[in-house]
């Protein structure tokens, strides 16, 4: 069970996370944030394995991944 969340205000839409995701579930949303960038989002949350590679590559520390069993 893993959950990935994006801090949308800080996302600059560089798409580097889309290249890092081994499951290719990160896509760019159609909505834009305050800075005017299309933000990264995950459509199929269930497919996320919680590997955290997107966290490693994100230059702006936008992504937070939770993994493990829910209490």
């Amino acid at each position: 069970m893993a959950k990935v969340t994006f801090w949308e205000e800080r996302c600059k839409g560089c798409q580097l996370c889309t290249t890092a995701c081994p499951k290719k579930i990160i896509t760019m949303a159609s909505n834009i944030n305050e800075m005017g960038y299309h933000v990264a989002s995950v459509t199929e949350q269930k497919k996320c394995t919680g590997c955290g590679l997107c966290v490693i590559i994100c230059p702006d520390m936008v992504i937070e991944v939770e993994r493990g069993r829910e209490n």
Partner: protein
Amino acid sequence: MKKITARPYSLRDIPFHYCPGCMHGIAHRLVAEVIDELGIHGRTIGISSVGCSVFAKHYFNVDMIQAAHGRAPSIATGVKRVLPDRVLFTYQGDGDLAAIGIGDFIHTAYRGEKITTIFINNTVYGMTGGQMAPTTLIGQVTKTTPFGRSVEINGNPIRVCELIASVEGVAYVERVSLHNPKEIIKAKKAIRKAFEMQLNGIGFSLVEALSACPTNLGLSPLEAVKWMEEKMIPFYPLGVYKSPAGGGLSA
């Protein structure tokens, strides 16, 4: 649930001013993570350079000094000699280190000052608008080389790691890249090793991190990553150029 969050304690919680796809943010984070892991937060002093990384002084949650253009290694030398128990690192770009600051840099390396230099190579002058840097590749189009850099007119690019790998005072030299998670993990190990060289008092250490500048290359961030893989990494081979156990290239 276990949380994987990125922000280390040694990095302030303010948004970076860097362009989308710029890898300065990754490099900042790696340095801050290493400072946290080594437990040297309270005695680290950073020297930021001139260029896009001029605002590194705002982002690192450690004592920072903003040096004049290219003079970061000299200021680090002064601070280290006055306060030898502190951990000194300089954070410089290619326009700062390889152009105006190469004299300071080489002399610091020859003196074997016990400081760590993090060198971000993105092949252009980023902040001033994409002019040719000493590290610009042959044939690369920039603002000041509109027909591509040529060897006859502009000379050959400087490979900084190869240049100082033969210097006696240098303890550790490695070139890493920041274009995919695998290389980023390697880069963090390299930065950690470079700081450890300083902590053990062995000598000068340099980590050159290849980065992309999508804004000045005129490419999207994803195209810039591809450009790095195809053009930049073949010209600037990754690997360890010098380590105390013995030199040589290890891929």
